[in-house]
């Protein structure tokens, strides 16, 4: 914002009207997995650490820390003078209460708890020094603490409220305080006058400039875009890609397309069963997908094609690893080679009377992304039948954990390359004892070893090497087809200045944003 020099001098006051697409239905960051929380996280709560521009943790509410050589004990030195908006004091006990709240099953934490799953216990050294013990080496622990879902909440509120109440009214130490929440409609925040503990990287201090923020949920893409254009809102999240061009050419608006850290939008193959248990079939399918065409159609040129299984802004992303591209001739050749040489009446390949087909359960929504149509059409061109089954969310979820599918699509946004552990470690395969995100059911010993080693070191060179090898190995094993890098599209009014882009989530931070008159 400031670069345009419209108004370099911050002005105080005004309420920011922000439109978002979907209410998480719970505002307690520990209890939800919604993307929206990354914005709220930094409105309501502060984190122990903040990532620097290299992706390494830097101080925020924790001023410094030490890691034991076995990577299992972390000693945090905490910032003094921080208070929660209900008056509770931020100290070592508060941090412990937060960790325990994240892990308490009653919280039903879908993300925060699992991110610190190795947490065992803590020892309070003094009011502002805390020693945390993990059950196993887990260096990414520090990094994930920078995520919005792991923001610090008031221990008083945690103790005095039921989890459901906390959903309605979480209390943090952030620059704004929750003042009103109507489910599915709007949530309002007011500035906290005594806020003075932003991360140094914000390069500003003191309370926020805005008097308040009002967030409305506007589900329809077309309506959200048009209400932005009409001036009803000064900022809009999840800008529909099809409207990007219009925003760019609108002099009153500013366009933001920020790449995010994590796992790109990928089609996972279920490698545990036919037909994708055959690596040739996987390779063939991958070669049949025309990624640039898909991106052009669904991304309106706003997305970058993925090059491998990590988004390119992720730490230790290896630009030399290249996922092979669209090559229908090769796809046909591989399928012939795999024995799928017959053809049925519709032109689909068969082997021993069986049609080459894949089941792809997709959550039904009013508008299903055209990506499935495109993939279906492209696969058909090489004789591969993709059945897109639109199902209610519940049934898709049930199928997902039961492993009953051939193709599943998704993204995984986080702030650490350890996402590869979440997605591809054998330990992450769902089974009846554990839920997990390794939906391709890939189980590779080498990958497991490298990912485990990466969890034990802070040595950048070693990490680069380990993650590089994993990325290459994944390209070789083809557990899926990476399609495009995950990015977040935003539009803001030119009247809104001083928006900071968050280093973990690439979302806007409004702490020191202001509205010009």
């Amino acid at each position: 914002g400031t670069a345009d020099g419209v108004s370099a001098e911050p002005a105080r006051g005004g309420t920011l009207n922000l439109s978002m697409s979907l209410d998480p239905l719970c505002l307690d960051p520990h209890a939800i997995s919604s993307d929206v929380e990354q914005i709220f996280g930094h409105i309501l709560t502060d984190n122990l650490v903040y990532l620097d521009d290299k992706g390494d943790p830097s101080p925020w509410l924790a001023t410094s820390w030490e890691i034991s050589p076995d990577a299992k004990t972390y000693t945090f030195h905490l910032r003094e003078g921080v208070t929660f908006s209900d008056g509770a004091v931020f100290d070592a006990q508060a941090v412990v209460t937060n960790f325990e709240h994240m892990l308490d099953p009653a919280t039903r934490s879908p993300l925060a708890g699992p991110y610190i799953a190795p947490y065992e216990d803590s020892k309070i050294i003094d009011d502002y020094t805390l020693e945390v013990h993990l059950s196993r080496p887990y260096v990414p622990f520090l990094t994930v603490l920078a995520q919005g879902w792991l923001g610090m909440e008031s221990p008083k509120a945690i103790k005095e409220s039921t989890p459901a109440q906390l959903c309605e009214h979480p209390v943090g130490s952030g620059p704004f305080v929750l003042t009103g929440y109507t489910k599915n409609q709007s949530v309002t925040f007011a500035r906290r006058a005594d806020y003075n503990w932003p991360p140094d990287l914000y390069k500003r201090g003191g309370p926020a400039y805005l008097d308040g923020i009002k967030v409305d949920w506007v589900g329809q893409d077309a309506v959200r875009f048009n209400s932005l254009v009409s001036g009803q809102y000064q900022a809009t999240g999840y800008l529909p890609a099809q409207n990007a061009q219009a925003v760019k050419s609108n002099p009153a608006l500013e366009y933001h397309n920020n790449n995010r850290i994590g796992w790109p939008f990928t089609l996972d193959f279920n490698v545990s069963r036919a037909p994708f248990d055959d690596i040739d079939v996987r390779r063939a399918f991958a070669a049949s997908v025309n990624v640039p065409a898909i991106i052009q159609t669904i991304g309106f040129g706003q997305r970058q094609p993925a090059t491998g299984f990590l988004d390119r802004v992720t730490q230790y992303y290896d630009p030399n690893v290249k996922f092979p591209g669209y090559d229908p001739a090769k796809a046909n050749q591989l399928l012939d080679q795999a024995g799928w040489t017959g053809r049925d009446a519709d032109g689909y390949r068969t082997k021993d009377g069986k049609v080459l087909e894949a089941q792809s359960p997709v959550t039904q929504t009013a508008t299903v992304s055209p990506v499935y149509n495109l993939i279906q059409a492209q696969a058909k061109a090489v004789g591969f039948k993709v059945n897109v089954n639109l199902l209610p969310l519940t049934q898709v979820t049930t199928l997902r954990y039961a492993g009953d599918y051939d193709l599943l699509s998704g993204v995984w946004h986080t702030n650490t390359p350890d996402v590869l552990y979440i997605k591809y470690a054998t330990e992450s395969i769902p089974n009846d004892k554990r839920l997990g995100q390794n939906l391709s059911h890939l189980s590779d010993q080498q990958i497991d070893t490298w990912l485990e080693q990466a969890r034990q070191t802070t040595d950048a060179a070693k990490l680069r090497d380990l993650y590089g090898k994993v990325q290459q190995r994944l390209v070789d094993l083809v557990p899926g087809v990476p399609i495009y890098d995950n990015s977040v599209l935003w539009a803001t009014s030119r009247k809104l200045q001083g928006v900071i882009t968050d280093t973990s989530h690439a979302t806007p931070v409004f702490t020191y944003a202001w509205l010009t008159k």
Partner: protein
Amino acid sequence: MSALTATDAALPRAGRVRLRPGLILAGLFVAAVVVAALVPQLLAPHDPLEIGADGAFLAPGGTHPLGTDESGRDVLSRMVYGARPSLVMGLGATAIAVTGGTLLGLIAGLGSRLTESVVMRLIDVVLSIPELLLALVVITLAGAGSTNAMFAVAFASIPSYARIVRAQTHIVRRSIFVEAATGLGMKRFTVIWRHVLPNAIRPVLVLSTIGIGTAISAGAALSFLGLGAEPPAAEWGDMLSNGLQYISNDWFLVAVPSVAITLTVLAITVLGREVRRRSEGRTT
């Protein structure tokens, strides 16, 4: 003897038809929709699923008379191919609903008092849930998809048909001509089969012609909410909700299916009303 007939007034014979222009237009439109449903390849210039090489959001003209959609598919062809699911929805749902409704209505209307009250209370219960909610629940049970949507729409309209049949059965059962037939010494079953059934079903059949339009509209609404047809099948409601996303890019994507649905429902309604009018003995 024939002199007695002198008092016979000249009476209008039924079947004299006066066609109004609206009726003709409606008839032609429905005919076109039927042709599109039966042999879409006759009217459609392209394969509705084919993702064209010439790109998305093409303006109308050239090889794409109505342009292309977000995936580069030909809009005209999709519109033409969309006729079939709509008609199948309209006819299928109505047929199921009328059959179910007639059965229930007859059971209630001819059965014992106990049977009647059980059936009617059941119908009351179903009727107490708004149609769309009922359809949504049915789809939650069965999953989305055009067949399930058809059953959902049908299921939701069974009660109203059943009520009509039951009420009609009651009227017919007590009507003098049924008594007259009984008075001729005919068997109960014969009387029911020959007189009660056909007369009880009649109004429902007439109403169902209008019901077809309503069912098409309801089916499109489900697709619009994302609970109907499965992509990439061309279906009007689905085209519409997709097009709505791109309304700022190309309003044609919304206009085409809107007009198609509206005109089809309108034309069927116009014809249905004419059928009803005729059945009530009005000729103008």
